[in-house]
């Protein structure tokens, strides 16, 4: 398989095969990002398709910074498109309720990635966005607050809520599959 630089060079020359190759290589990665933000697969696929159109039409502006930089850039575009989609189609709500019983945190690694991704997507929109931005996009609470127009404290507390809700979901999953 060609490396990113060769692929980029071919795409910049208008090579449609290279474009398709880029799509084939990163479509799974793009889907995994979208699925963390958006619960419905159909909507995720729309976002991924739209993201690749943006990627391929603005790839000339991308400044190659070594192997992996293209993947990072693609991930950023998909995440931005997914955030945009959630902002447009969902009312961002923040939860105040904490699960009744504080569970002991199960090992994250015991949950298969597709199940864990689906659990994140099932979180209420507000804490789901904050968890994604903090854990996967490496935003600070201040940056999240600016991005979503909320207070820093809200961002911090909603991350704790997301963690608690995820813990509950993971515990339930383990219980279901152990029995």
């Amino acid at each position: 398989m060609e490396n990113e630089q060769k692929l980029l060079s071919a795409i910049n020359q208008g090579d449609r095969t290279a474009m398709k190759q880029l799509y084939e290589r990163y479509k799974g990665y793009a889907m995994s990002i979208g699925l963390r933000y958006i619960p419905e697969v159909d909507n995720v696929e729309d976002v991924v398709q739209d993201s690749f159109i943006t990627i391929l039409t603005s790839i000339g502006k991308f400044d190659y910074r070594g192997e992996g930089s293209l993947k990072g850039w693609i991930g950023r575009i998909v995440a931005n498109k997914a955030i945009d989609f959630v902002k447009k189609n969902e009312r961002i709500t923040f939860v105040d309720t904490i699960p009744d019983k504080q569970e002991d945190e199960p090992e994250i690694e015991r949950i298969p990635p597709d199940e864990l991704t689906a659990m994140i997507a099932r979180l209420p929109s507000g804490c789901r966005m904050i968890l994604n931005l903090y854990v996967f996009e490496h935003y600070s609470h201040k940056e999240i607050a600016n991005q979503l127009g909320i207070k820093e404290n809200t961002s911090s507390s909603q991350l704790s809520r997301a963690r608690q809700l995820l813990t509950k979901m993971m515990t339930d999953y383990i219980k279901r599959h152990e029995t």
């Binding site: 889907m31 039409t57 945190e105």
Partner: protein
């Protein structure tokens, strides 16, 4: 488990997770790419047509103004010619002759050189008026056929003085339009500017461990493209050596801000569109054959009419920049291709004042810059 550690483990666990789409998305992507390519071609063609239309508009608009400016003198000439024709071809009645003489007398009065002729004419007129008032109607018509009379001779001085009405029409015609209109393109001549910097903000450095590791090679870069301007100008000559000018100038600024991290970068493109109104004073230093050398100095106010920001392909909301003031000067060289049309080149210098906004752009990065303006000018001052 601490929040940072938990976040890191969650991130690591999903890092390599891939999920294939349930259907083939490539067809839709390819169709959209084809559609966009066609749209871009159409846009390029449309832009070319618009530019051609603008140039044609200027050329024809200028030509119309030139033509319109000349027309007022023509009816006067026609009237004069017509009156001459009438005098030569028809039997002139006394009343008509008297009117012609009166009008001629009025014209002649304005010319000092013809004082003596006016006096002579007045005598003739007085005499004819006396004849009209004293002689019966039958007698009044007789001299026309029988003998040369002062009335027969009257057309001669008129014929002789035919240049005078012409001169009069020139003297009384409206002042020529001392206007010029023009089109120009302006670009800066500095090297492309860029700035690099490493963020050392302690607030950012206090992020969780994963992010802190991320920030080891954190770097931000900004680069600003040369501004490019297109404008429409109107100039008015105060005298042979001085003229004032104004117009409408469109300027586009493009900047790129890049945040660099290991294996990842965030790129933000910023485009600012300005519409400006310049006010310039022009001093013409030298005019030799078709060449002209002049100095221009003045100020310009630019309003940011549109601000665009795009991060990694996603359009972001961006506030418009504040009004931008600038002053500049240039040395211009003009070549007059035909009397009405000249081409010019103006190398110059311009200083942009800090407008106090937080928006980074070329004007803030390079407040003083050199530029080159190229254009064409339609001179509506035909007598110059």
């Amino acid at each position: 488990m601490k929040q940072e550690e938990w976040a890191k483990r969650l991130n690591e666990h999903l890092k390599d997770y891939h999920q294939e789409p349930s259907k083939d998305l490539w067809q839709g992507i390819e169709a959209s790419l084809d559609k966009q390519a066609k749209g871009q071609t159409r846009l390029i063609v449309m832009r070319r047509w618009l530019m051609a239309a603008a140039i044609m508009g200027i050329v024809f608009g200028g030509s119309y103004l030139l033509w319109h400016h000349d027309t007022p003198t023509q009816p006067q000439l026609a009237e004069v010619k017509q009156s001459h024709k009438t005098e030569h071809t028809e039997n002139v009645s006394k009343e008509l002759i008297a009117q012609t003489e009166e009008s001629y007398t009025q014209t002649a009065k304005s010319t000092i050189q013809n004082t003596r002729e006016i006096a002579a004419e007045e005598e003739v007129i007085n005499k004819s008026q006396k004849e009209e008032s004293t002689q019966p109607d039958e007698k009044a018509t007789q001299p026309k056929v029988d003998a040369p009379s002062p009335q027969v001779h009257r057309p001669l001085p008129l014929e002789h003085k035919t240049p005078h009405p012409h001169t009069g029409s020139q003297q009384h015609s409206p002042q020529p339009l001392r206007l010029s209109i023009g089109l120009f393109a302006r670009g800066n001549t500095n090297d492309m500017n860029s700035k690099n910097g490493v963020i050392m903000n302690p607030e950012i450095m206090h992020r969780h461990a994963a992010t802190r590791a991320y920030l080891v090679n954190y770097e931000e870069r900004e680069s600003h493209d040369q501004p490019i301007s297109f404008g429409l100008t109107v100039g008015y000559s105060l005298n042979k050596w001085l003229s004032v000018g104004t117009g409408l100038v469109y300027t586009k600024l493009h900047s790129e801000f890049t945040t660099l991290m290991p294996h990842q970068q965030i790129k933000r493109n910023q485009a600012l569109h300005y519409l400006g109104v310049p006010l310039n004073m022009q001093a013409h230093l030298l005019q030799w054959h078709g060449l002209g050398l002049y100095l221009t100095a003045g100020g310009e106010a630019d309003w940011n009419i549109k601000a665009e920001s795009n991060t990694d392909g996603i359009n972001q909301v961006m506030n418009k920049d504040r009004m931008q003031w600038s002053v500049g000067g240039s040395l211009g060289l003009e070549y007059r291709v035909i009397p009405q049309l000249s081409l010019y080149a103006e190398p110059g210098i311009r200083h942009y004042f800090d407008n106090g906004s937080a928006i980074d752009n070329y004007f803030k990065d390079k407040p003083t810059s050199f530029n080159l303006q190229l254009g064409l000018r339609l001179n509506l001052n035909t007598t110059k």
